[in-house]
Symmetry: C2
Subunit: 226 residues, 2 copies
DNA sequence: CCATAATGACTGACCGGACAGTCATCATAC
DNA sequence: GTATGATGACTGTCCGGTCAGTCATTATGG
């Protein structure tokens, strides 16, 4: 999607440009990001941006897709297929939280595609993003059901939907001002957002998922931990 | 917050202006909404807008606050304090869904405060919005615990947080393009977003909440329906 | 009851700043 | 020497906010 020129420049320069773009777009949003300012922050002339990309839109899309790819690798990398559903879910939540804390910009980009006026981008990005996660969650849940680790009467699609919903809300609470304020209001955190409360909420969310998925009465009662 | 002039004009005119503003701001977002277009849609001159409000910001804030108040009344109105937690929760989810379907603009306004660049508005709106819901949910859950309808070991704050999280994600799926696409991906809906699937998801979400809140083994097993 | 005056809501042309995208010119590498 | 990348002044457009003037309504006074 970008012009060939982008591939020909020094990788360091390209990385600087792309990461600076991710940060700016994430912080200010698409419309409010000024191409001139982005250029100057990336140590590049404004004209050069148009040597690399056809337009602001194209640059934005590229940055988003790259961010999503990075996030995916960070979160789903290191998963062992031998682990059971519960272990894999916990891994994803914890790796996700860690990645989002170190690279909030990519989650902010994701959250921004749901904003007003971003529909053209949602049309181009949302399906492919969600498809991966949806397929993954459904597959793991189905496996769990087959293994008797997950209650057999579970509607796998519906469950995947709300598990991922909890994931989104939780991660959003780490990076979006609004959701941070909301988190503090619910958990009655007075001072800075401390890691303890966040970790407790994460643990309680995972416990919640466990308790809903686990088969009712006589099933194997051992917890699905490592 | 608006100027006195706003109170002196014909109510019909004022209502037209405010509802048109809500729709435009919701659809386009704050920055992309053009005061001239808003004026013309409302059948008013651009200059008049500045007779009613000091600035675009003030108008936006006013519209948001009004929308939140309307939403609150629509969703929390008609609650009977005699109902148990489960009944009240179900009522809120169903009334919320109905209201959001008939007035998507107000939920869109809410969702937009979490977008990039909206932090100044989040600072002014989020706390007060979330406080009401948070207090309500916590109070109902605490009552449920006291009555033995809710498991005693529940952390009320944490539970209120994720119950509301499920609410937000679900409602967002009704109005935001991104979340609509996501919903269809998860539930594998091929054609139009049909009400059946949405209603099933709503029912399953409520069932999920029930199953997590309900006391474990020997408690009263009757469901908390009307 | 009418004529004149006062009020203040209404209007839209206008201003200034911001910003995406262009392009003529310059630098560099081979 | 030429081809390709780099540059930033420039252009056209858009938009928030202003303000000088208009006009409908109401108040006054004879």
């Amino acid at each position: 999607m970008p012009k060939e020129t982008l591939q020909k420049i020094k990788p360091a320069k390209r990385d600087k440009l792309l990461s600076e773009a991710a940060r700016l777009f994430a912080q200010r949003g698409y419309a409010a990001t000024d191409m001139a300012e982005l250029a100057s922050r990336a140590g590049v002339a404004k004209g050069s941006l148009y040597n690399y990309f056809e337009s602001k839109q194209e640059l934005y899309l590229y940055v988003c897709r790259q961010g999503l790819e990075l996030s995916r690798r960070a979160v789903y990398g290191g998963l062992d297929p031998a682990w059971d559903v519960y272990h894999q879910l916990e891994h994803i939540f914890r790796r996700g939280a860690a990645f989002v804390r170190s690279h909030p910009e990519y989650l902010l980009l994701y959250l921004n595609v749901s904003a007003a006026g971003m529909e053209p981008f949602a049309e181009k990005l949302s399906r492919q993003v969600e498809k991966h996660t949806a397929d993954f969650l459904k597959a793991r849940l189905a496996e769990g059901v087959a293994q008797g680790l997950v209650r057999a009467d579970l509607n796998v699609n519906q469950a995947a939907f709300w598990i991922n919903g909890l994931y989104i809300i939780f991660m959003a609470s780490l990076v979006s001002r609004h959701f941070q304020i909301r988190l503090r209001e619910y958990l009655e955190i007075k001072g800075r957002l401390n890691m303890r409360a966040i970790d407790e909420q994460l643990t309680s969310t995972i416990a919640l998922i466990h308790s809903v998925l686990r088969p009712a009465a006589p099933a194997p009662a051992r917890r699905g931990r490592r």
